[in-house]
Amino acid sequence: MAADSALLLGLVEEFVTGQQDSKAEETATGVKNGQFTILQLVEALGLSLTSSEPQTRGRGVQLLSQVLQQCYGNLQESEVEVLVTFYENRLKDHYVIMPHVLEGLKALTKCLVLPPGSAVSILKSVFQDAHVQSLMLAQRSCVYCILINLMDSREEELKGLGSDFVFGFVQSMDGERDPRNLLLAFQIARKIITQGYEMGKFTEEFFEVTSCYFPIDFTPPPNDPHGITQEELILSLRAVLTGSQRFAEYLLPLIVEKLDSDVQSAKVDSLQTLAACGSLYGHKELSEFLPGLWSSLRREVFQTASEKVETAGLSAVSALVASLSRSVLSSDSEDVLHVFLDLILKDCLHHLAEPDLKLVWPSAKILQAASNASYRASLKVMSAVMPSLLEQYNTQTQVSRERQHPDNVLVEFQKPLCSAVFSALAESSAGLQITATRLLTSLGKQSGEVSNDVPLLLLLLVKSVLANHFCSLSSSLAVMECCGALAYIYPEAFAMRMVPRLKEAIFSAVRRRCVTALASVSSQPSLVQESVPVLLQILTSAHTGMGNSFSSDEVTSVCHSLQRIAEQAGQDPEVGQIFHDIVIPRLLGLAIQAALQGETLSHWPAHQVHYASLMASRAVRLFLDGDVSFLPENAFPSNLQLLKVNSCYQTRTVCLLMACVCSLPRSVEIPEVDRLLVELEELSFTCLHPFSYTSAAKCFAGLINKRPEGRTIKTLLLRYHPLSTSLTDKLFSLLGDSELASHAADGFYLLMSDSPDVLNRGCHANVRIMYRQRFFAENSAKLVQSFNSARKAAYLKALSHMVNNLPKQVQLTELPALLPLLLEALSCPDQGVQLSTLSCLQPVLLDPPAALTTQLDGLVARLLALNSSPSMKVRIASLRCILALSHLPDHLVLPFRAKILQALAVPLDDKKRLVRKEAVLARGEWFLLGNPGR
C-alpha cells in the first residue's frame, strides 16, 4: 500500500511539475485497475491543488479531470458528490483553470450515480460562474455537452428549474458563431422544444437567440475536416424554428421579411421553412399572417426567374392550404381555408381569363398546388375555376388549358369534365386532342371513379379511333396509348364493346388504325384471345386473295401488331399458350403456303416475311421461357425440303426457320441439326437471292453459336472461340485483295455491330462479355501494322468501323495510339471513311483526351480542308467537329480563333441550307470564344 501511494505521488509529481502528459494515462490505468482510488488521487494532489500558483493548480485539476474522463463509470455516489462540490468551487477560481474544470464536470455528468440535486447545482454554478461566450471554442462545446448529458439523464430535475433553465441556455448560446457548436446548440434547443421544457416569459428570447441565424449563410472552408455542410445547419435550425406553435407569431413575420431578400438561397430557405411550418401550425397560428404571406408568395411565384424558388413557393402554398384544411374550426371563427383560397382565387383567376399573357402559367400552377393539397381545397378551387375554364374553352378553342385540372378528386365535375373532353376530342386542333386524351387516360386510371362511365368512354374512344379527322400522327398515338392504359384496367369492357366494333370496321377505310388499336388494347389474356383471331383472319384473307383490298403495307402492319402483342405479353404464360396453339401454326402454315404458290403472291414481300419471323421468334422465346418441354419438331419438318428448292420465293421461308430455331434456349436440342447445317451452308453459298442467303447464313451462325463443341466468324467471336482468329486472319488477307478489299472492310462493321434478329442475348446466343474489346485489342495492332501497305483506304475503313462500335471508355484509352491514323483517315479521299471517322471523332472532342492537344494543329487543318468536300454530309460532320472544338479549354483553342472564323465565312455561303445552319452554329460559338459575356 505504501509503495502504491509513493508511486502515485511520483506520478502526480511528474505530471504537475515535470509536465509529462503521458503520466495522466498511467494514473488513469492505475485507478481503473483498482491500484489506487480517486480519493487517494485527490489526497496525493493535495499540495498542487492548494498551491498559490494558478498554473500549478490548473495542472492538478487537469490531471484529475483527465483521469475522471476515463474512470467516471467506477465512481461511488459519495465520491461523485464530493467531486461535484469541489469542481463547482473551482469554477470560481482563476480563468487558467476553467477549461480543466469544465472537462471534469463533463466527465461527472456522464456518471450514472450522479446524486439527486447535483444536476441542478452543477447547472446553476455553470450558468452563474462561467460566462460561456467569453470562453474558448472547445470549452463552449464542453458546456453544451454538459447540458446535453444532463438533459439525457436528469430531465425531471432540470424541468424542476422551470424557465430558469431556458434562460440559462439562452444566455450561454447568445452570440455563438462556430458552426460545430451551433449544431450542438440547435440540438439542445430542439430538445427543449420537443421534451416540453418550460419557456415561460423567455419564449421570445429563446426564439430570438436561435432565429438570428436564419437564413443560414455558411460556406464550409476548403478541406474542412469537420465536414459540416450548410444543409446540415439549415435543417437543424429549421427543426428548432418550426418545432413549436408558440413561435408562430415571431416566425411568420420573419419569413415575410426574409422573402424580400435579394439572395436566392435565403428565399428558398424561407419558403421551405414556411412549408415545414405547415405540418404543425393550424389556422389559429396562421390566420393573422395569411394576407402578408400570400402577397409574398404570389410575388415569388409570379416574378421569379428561378425554378427552385418557384418550386419552393408552390410547395409552401400546398403546405399552407393543407394545414388550413386540417385544422378543426371553433364555432365562432370563420373558415380560414376559405379566406385564404379566396385570396388566391382573387389574384389568380383573372389571369386565367387572359391565356395569351405570361402570368397565366404561374397562376395555373398556384391553383394546381392549392387544389392538390386537400379534398376540400380542390372542391373549392374547382368550383371556382372550372366554370370559367369551361366558358373559356367554349369561346376560344384554340389553346388548351386542360392541364390545370389536378388528377384527383373530380367526382363533382365528372359530367362537365367529360363533356369538355368529348367536345375537345371532336375538335380539329391536334394539340387539344392530345391533351384531352391524356386527361382521359388519367381519369381512367382513377379506377372506380369513372367505372360508371366506361361504356361512354369506350364509345368515345372507338369513335376517335375510327374518326377520320384523327389524321395527325401524334394525336392518334395518344389515342392508342389511352386505349392501352384503359384496356389494362377494364379488359372485359374492352373485349365486349371495343373489339367487336373494331372487327366490324376492319374492312373499312380506316382499317390500319383498327389494327393498331387492336394491338394496343391486347394487354390482358382475355383481350388477346379476342383480338388475335381478328388479325389472323386479315392475314388469311390477304393470302387467299379474297381481300384484294389489303395492300402489302397493311399486311405488314398486321404482322407488326402481332409482334407487338407478343412483346407486350412479356412472361405471361397464358398469352404464350395462345400464341403456341393458334398463332404460330397458322402463321407457318400461311407462310409455307404462300411460298409454294410462288410468284403469284406479289403482296407477300420480303420485309413482311421479316416481320413475321421477328414475331415468331419473340413468340417462341416467350413461350419457351416458361416451358422448355415444348420441342418444335412438328412445326417445320417440311422446311427441310424447302431449303433445297432453288426458287427464291420458297427459300425465303428460311428466315422463319431461323426465327424459330435461333431463339430456342441452349438447353433445347434441335432434331437433325447436322443435316440442317449442311443444307444451310449449301444454301448460303449457292443461292443468288440476297435475302435468302443472308438469312441462311444468319441461321447457320445462330446454330453454330449454340453447338456444344463449336458469316461464322461473328458467331465464333461472340463465344471467343480459338477458331475465330484464323478466320479473322483470312479477312485480313482479303483486305489486301484489290477487288474484295472494300467488302472485307465492311465485314468488320458486321463483326463489331449488334444485329437485331439473331445472335443477341435475347435469342439465347452465347455472347461472351467484352468480345468487342478483346477483338479490338487483338486486331487493332495488325491493322496499324499493315497500314503502310498499298490498300490504305480499306484498312482505314476497317479501323474506323472498329473504333466506332467500341464503348466510349475503351475508345478514350485507345485513342492516343490511334489518333495519327484517324487524322490520316481524315485526309483519305474515300467519303465513307471521312464520314465514319468524323462521326467517331465528334463525341471524343466533347470530352477530349490529353493526347489530342498535341495534335490540334493537324486536326484543325484537316477539318477545315473537309469544309470544301463535295459531299454535304462530310461538310456537315466536319462543321460539327469544329463546333465541338470550341468547347475545349480557351488556352488551347484561342490561337486558332482568327483562322477558323475566317475559314468559316466560306460555308456561311454554302449552297446547301443544312450546311449553312451548322456553319452559323459553329461560327457563333467561335466568336464568343475568349470574349466577355460568354
Binding site: 405570361k358 452554329l921 466568336f927 470574349n931 460568354r934
Partner: protein, 168 residues
C-alpha cells in the same frame, strides 16, 4: 430578378412559337442549291438552336415568344445580297430597344456571308424614340464603337450565348 426590383413589363403577351422548319427532299439533294430565304434568317435569329436564340435580357422568354421578331418582318433578297429585319419592342418605352437591335445586328453580321448588306430597324410606329434608335443602328461606326465597349459587348454576347437561357 429579385423581389426588390420591378420589371418594366411584368405580364407581357406571350405568343405561340412556330414549329421546326420541315426538311424537304431537296434539302438533302446535293445538286440543288438552296437560296437563303426569310425563314432561314428568322431561324438564325430565333431558333437556330432554341438555346441560342437571342433572349431579351429582361424576360427569360425568346424574342419570338414575345413577338419582337416575326418572320413576316424579315426580308431577304439572296441575289441582291440584302437583308432587312424589323423588330417590335414589347412596349413603346422599352429601354432595351437599342440593345435588342444591336444584338440582332451582331448575330446577323456573324452568321451571314460578307456580301450581305444588313439593315435592322424598329417596326414603324412601335417605339417612342424610334428614329433615334434606327439612326444608331444604321451608323456603322457607332455600332463598331459600341462593340469596342467591353461591358456592352458582354451584354450582347450574353444575349447570343447558348448559356443565357434562364435567369440564373
Amino acid at each position: 430578378m429579385s423581389g426588390g426590383t420591378r420589371l418594366e413589363n411584368a405580364n407581357p403577351l406571350v405568343f405561340q412559337r412556330s414549329g421546326e422548319r420541315l426538311l424537304t427532299a431537296t434539302d438533302e439533294d446535293e445538286n440543288v442549291a438552296d437560296p437563303i430565304d426569310d425563314r432561314e434568317i428568322f431561324d438564325i435569329l430565333i431558333r437556330t438552336v432554341l438555346s441560342q436564340s437571342i433572349n431579351d435580357p429582361e424576360h427569360p422568354l425568346s424574342l419570338e415568344e414575345l413577338n419582337v421578331v416575326e418572320q413576316l418582318r424579315v426580308n431577304v433578297n439572296d441575289q441582291d445580297s440584302t437583308v432587312a429585319v424589323e423588330f417590335t419592342p414589347t412596349i413603346p418605352h422599352c429601354s432595351m430597344a437599342t440593345l435588342i437591335g444591336l444584338s440582332i445586328k451582331v448575330k446577323l453580321l456573324r452568321s451571314l456571308p460578307g456580301r450581305f448588306k444588313i439593315d435592322v430597324h424598329i417596326t414603324p410606329g412601335t417605339h417612342a424614340s424610334e428614329d433615334a434608335v434606327n439612326k444608331q443602328l444604321a451608323d456603322k461606326e457607332r455600332v463598331a464603337a459600341a462593340l469596342e465597349n467591353s461591358q456592352l459587348l458582354e451584354v450582347v454576347n450574353q444575349c447570343l450565348s447558348s448559356r443565357a437561357i434562364s435567369g440564373e
